[in-house]
Subunit: 338 residues, 2 copies
């Protein structure tokens, strides 16, 4: 299994990407195609003495995507951007999966353009693992599809269920619809209509438990939480903000006593652990579900360790025929429901 | 200034409501109309020896709103619910402001029905104070208007600015639009169109600073954060959930050592403080902006202390002619913009 890696994407690219990818190449083992500026990638590879014993190819892609670039501009004006060339390798069958820690919007558009969609899925969804008191849940969409219709949320529910089986090893994960009250009359028109679709017998293969309020996202009330990409992105980013602010407020408390400082050291560790769990780089990244090939999107700040995990995740999806499973799951849904 | 109080609304009603309201009556001083079941209210009043020296009336309202009642049902089938009777006292000029810690949806509908809207405002918005690293910001709408159009967000921006002047004592509060990226091309159609309206010269009386990402809500990047009621409600409730979960995870860490336990005691205090700041009951409640009279909605779990603060807030709004200021602010907006 060969993984195409966007070596130029991410805050610490190409160094952290190459380092992390090589760890994956050694230990999985996996074959890699590192895509980006050849000179920069070779310079990083030169630091690895065992480079010649690993199955690593370097593929040239001279265009560089800036984080401030609108995704559409990348697609229109940067045909040889590393994420696009890497996606095209997968589309051409030269690699089995794509990993990128770069610009999320560009990764979504590049994957969509190169892979197309799984039949029956209209919009892609980024599926994030969120920590809960009891373990973890899958929240989707985390920001790939900002504007959704009710049937898109049903499709997300199906894909999220299949992903939760694989990622959380649950036989029959429960599905909740994110809303502002548990009653089915609560929420936007989008949410209320999606609720009705999810209740239909056609979707009875899903274990739909109804609406879930935002305060229950982290209690683990549902294994899969479904929402549009705008709401999902706001929910995840505000969570990061809260953790950072609580930490800041705690820090402000501790200047006083020795005991307080000890307490802070303890808390800081627990916080870091929580933040790590919130940060999807610790899971290696979030799969982009719905496109017709494996794409794993890592956090922009990915460390070599996170890149290693992300490449391993992409590798596992490819090896376990994850996209075929998604296809089968979507196909099994009666036409009216999805 | 007389305040009409929904004595039956809230988890600890009528006890906590009556106790808190009487503290406000003593110290502001304020005249009160306590609305609800007369027998239950009188039983609570009997515990207060100075009751006869306070200007407190009891107004009968026999219908009780259950938290599970859909708001529309309350409006259709419970004409003598305490929140409705209290709102009608205000509408009839017998009280200057309404305070309730009951069912939010019912309070919104009852206020809307009894007061009508300020001319130029189409939808009400619940304005919550959120704690930030540098102080506090106003976030609206926190859940009164689930479905919004772009011009509604502009109206929220105007009302939020006027509220921030009063509540945060800022001369010229900055306004940010909650989105999933700072670029004006980011977000839903609603957000992108609202961004364009907020940039128009017609709204130049607002200090609009552009989009604000959810991770910046608690950093204080904007003094006023504007969003639709669905997004606002999700953002605030997930924040509560994160704090509760971090606390839970910290608790799980501490069974081990004495030092850890000390640390936990410290952290717990800081957490409680943060949660208090998140919880709008500490600000006494959130004003419902846009309806044509003062309505302050307290947290369902309001303690007597929170009720006291909420009544004081309603009292202050009435005394400082807050609704007239909102009217003037909205009137000053050119027609095209709002």
């Amino acid at each position: 299994v060969r993984i195409a890696i966007d070596a130029m994407g991410g805050d610490h690219a190409p160094g952290a990407i190459v380092d992390g990818a090589l760890v994956a190449a050694r230990h999985l083992p996996a074959a890699l195609s590192l895509v980006g500026r050849v000179g920069a990638i070779e310079a990083e590879l030169a630091r690895h003495a065992d480079r010649d014993r690993l199955d690593v190819r370097v593929v040239d892609a001279p265009d560089v995507v800036e984080m401030a670039d609108p995704a559409a501009v990348v697609l229109r004006r940067k045909p040889r951007a590393s994420v696009r060339v890497a996606a095209e390798l997968v589309a051409a069958g030269e690699a089995a999966a794509l990993f990128t820690a770069g610009h999320t919007g560009a990764a979504v558009l590049a994957s969509h353009a190169a892979f197309g969609m799984i039949p029956g899925v209209d919009r892609p969804a980024l599926a994030t693992i969120v920590p809960t008191r009891t373990g973890a849940s899958v929240l989707l969409d985390a920001g790939a599809s900002v504007e959704c219709r009710p049937q898109h949320l049903v499709q997300f529910a199906v894909m999220g269920t299949i992903y939760a089986r694989l990622a959380l090893r649950l036989e029959r994960p429960s599905v909740g619809l994110l809303s502002i009250g548990t009653e089915e009359s609560k929420g936007t028109e989008l949410v209320r209509e999606a609720h009705q679709l999810l209740k239909l017998p056609a979707t009875s293969s899903l274990r739909f438990i109804g609406n879930v309020e935002a305060r229950d996202v982290y209690t683990g009330r549902a294994d899969v939480i479904v929402c549009d990409g705008f709401t999902g992105n706001v929910a995840l980013k505000i969570s990061e903000g809260v953790v950072a602010t609580v930490e800041e407020l705690l820090r402000a408390e501790v200047a006083r006593t020795f005991t307080a400082r000890l307490g802070y050291l303890l808390s800081r560790r627990a916080f870091r652990r929580f933040r790590k769990r919130v940060d999807h780089s610790e899971y290696g990244g979030a799969p982009l579900l719905g496109v017709d090939a494996v794409c794993v999107i890592g956090h922009g700040g990915s460390s070599p360790h996170a890149v290693r995990n992300g490449v391993a995740l992409a590798h596992r999806f490819a090896r376990e025929q994850f996209v075929s499973r998604l296809r089968a799951g979507i196909e099994a849904m009666p036409r009216g429901a999805s």
